[in-house]
Symmetry: D2
Subunit: 262 residues, 4 copies
């Protein structure tokens, strides 16, 4: 058995001087920008996915990835790919910390120390904070979704209403986990919210659920997984969430006795 | 000069039975799903962009597009492209309404009437409500962003904090515009929020700004544009937002005297 | 019924100053270039596909599209999309001619008159020859493949051998159709070769088949379709080729009595 | 210094039952298929590029990659990505051999032994021949292009003529290298042909150049590189080709004294 992880590595991928580029020489067509941003994010997701990492679109011009095990040359390779395939370049801050917020904070500070995101001379920086590529132990992923979202929302309400409800739940959950547990939660599509967490007991997840219920009226369920890579932890979290759907319980942890085939 | 538009056409693009697919036969790798969703959205953005429309990722498994002028066969062509290039298919509801929320509501209801989003037998439906392809007059796009986001947030704060602040502003603005003016606002990356609105006076936009400031402490500025297509209206909104950045005013409307080169 | 087309419109899409870019400041990684070129071509295929056109990768830095009905602003929109989403730009020559080679020749000359493909100052040109967007009548698409390629080649021989055999057949067919009938034939994947032709009788196609057989020993079959758009003509050619597979005949023309559902 | 490589690893990536899929239930739109094939190839190029490999589109439904150092689980990960992001799946044969044609032949046979490419039940096979992931020593990449292609062809002749000339040169070169030296040469865009070769002396490359000149009249130049990975060998070949352009010599080998910065 792996011990609880003492650290996590998070990379902040920032498009260089992107805002000014989007309006030079005149504002670029919005749908072109939407497609560009989405494909840049897809490239990041594929890249870190091939290293068993996780990726979040965050603000698109600032994307977040869990990159445990990925080295500085791995990140340089990603910068090379973007430079060769897209009209923009990226700078990256890599932070290692005891908790997700600490790691992301370290990544942010390392990158900010290199200059402004809108400094035309600050391109393709790669700044690090901590022992990159050398995190150890297991990490925790919690995969949340809305109980019966299809029956309660998608098939019943206007799409705009459903969307807003899930955004509210996301903000509520992300704020709570950040403030109470130094976790990072992000919307990943549909009614799914994925959180990177320190090792937490069931009471902590129940607290999060109750906070969201109290502030937004939305009933979340959550599968919790641990693993040596973000992918393994996240995969176990998905299996646990499947158990929630079957058992009706609101919190399930992946049972290590269960077989994993990938 | 075009008259104020009496109607707007919005399409709701829904992945067919997507939730079950993502866990069949076992949960699929999250980064693969993230990349898939992003590229599906990019395909939609490109498609409607070529018809001078606008697109929002919304929940990724439910995407929204402003599709004035696009016909039913145009939408069928998009369904064909997705079927031929992706491992999932899409159903579409097209709604025409006097306001954005009315149009999206009509699109949602039309699609819901065809069956559940998780009904394995409901695939590639195309349901309409209203006179598709026949909207008239001009529509309004309002392009918001955060005043000095780079100086105040991106270069100063941890990426997690910035991201949450902008999510809060988005939820606050979207809720307000929906309730007060039947508008639809969505995050489009960076610190940008784009709203589809009925024709509104300056006081309405000031009210929205003040609401967001009061509830989240975030100072927004907004460029407002009108035009016969979403692209033209949105392009003028971007020009107006550029004026905000230059003049320091918080609300600018595109002046029809200004030259547009595209 | 439509009359035989008197003209066809072909667009030559040329990456601007691409060769020098691939080695600046030092040679770029080959796989990045391969992926870039492939996605640029996919963007072109999607774009002209949405106008019922046809596309060929040709040399990737010079791509060919059949663009009947597409206007100059349509082509400008494509240039805009590439500029906004890729690290390179494209110039386009559009030619209208009585035959495919005449149209492509006109497109080439129009573009060459704007300057060299490796002139750093010649970017995003759009040159035309003939009445763009105004071709009339029906055009002919011939869709060839190798008789029993899976049984004879793919499942039997080394991949390198199969590939070379099909390249030889392609060169032989393309040369013959070009010289004898002013047609353009291009490899489109697998064992498929698609030819744009003037209106030709069955003897002409039999002549082409015999030439390829004599020079390369490869037995081709061909489905021939006519239609008002490249897509319709090509779709009928595919249906006719399906008939070849069923009947064992080597040349089939789409029978206008057959139902087409798209 | 690394010793001359005794073996090379080549993977044959074959779309499962693709031909039938393209016409089920009726022929799919050609441009959709073109875009699909191109993006599948881009995914392969990105994937092997991240392992310092090389990729060739070959026939698109059968793609070739040089995958030295890539393991069976690496290939399985690629199969997983395709399954999750595309409407088709892939089977792979991996072959290790003393020469490129031996390796590709072994890969082909291993895959053929699993069943037909058009057997609906043969999906996502992964067959190997030889010690996968364990090749040693350096390999040779030769990067050819046409002397002054822009001045002689692109800016002077009709695009169709240039394209055919380069196809003829490709077939001539590929046939010669295959028969004389068990090498594999493929067109990679523009006027570029890349060959995987055993270790060959300058006379062998001169022989190839002369064969192409004699059979097609086209004057090729070639840069030759060696390295422990396809990327390193190919990068050095590109540097050597740059030297050809500067010195006017027709064959250059990468000088190991030259600095490589990546």
């Amino acid at each position: 058995m792996t011990s609880t992880r003492e650290s996590i590595q998070i990379s902040l991928v920032q498009l260089d001087n992107y805002g000014p580029w989007t309006v030079t020489p005149s504002p670029r067509r919005e749908t072109d920008l939407q497609a560009l941003q989405a494909r840049l994010y897809a490239a990041l997701a594929d890249f870190v996915g091939n290293h068993d990492g996780y990726a979040f679109f965050d603000r698109f011009d600032n994307m977040i990835a869990v990159t445990d095990g990925m080295t500085v040359p791995d990140h340089e390779r990603f910068q090379e790919q973007i430079r060769n395939q897209f009209p923009v370049t990226v700078s990256i801050g890599i932070g290692v910390g005891r908790t997700p917020t600490e790691a992301l904070g370290a990544a942010s500070q390392a990158l900010q120390a290199e200059g402004s995101a809108q400094d035309a001379d600050r391109t393709e920086q790669l700044a690090t904070a901590g022992a990159v590529g050398d995190t150890r132990g297991s990490l925790t992923v919690a995969h949340f979704d809305v109980v019966d979202v299809t029956g309660e929302f998608t098939d019943q309400k206007a799409a705009g209403e459903t969307s807003l409800a899930i955004q509210r739940a996301t903000v509520s959950l992300a704020s709570y986990l950040r403030e109470e547990h130094e976790g990072i939660a992000r919307f990943v599509g549909g009614d799914n919210i994925i959180a990177l967490c320190p090792s937490l007991d069931e009471g902590a997840f129940e607290g999060a659920r109750e906070h969201v219920q109290a502030t937004t009226g939305i009933d979340l369920q959550v599968g919790v997984g641990e693993g040596e890579t973000p992918h393994k932890a996240g995969y176990r979290a998905k299996l646990a969430l499947e158990e929630c759907r079957e058992t009706g319980r609101r919190i399930e942890r992946f049972s290590p006795q269960a077989t994993i085939d990938r």
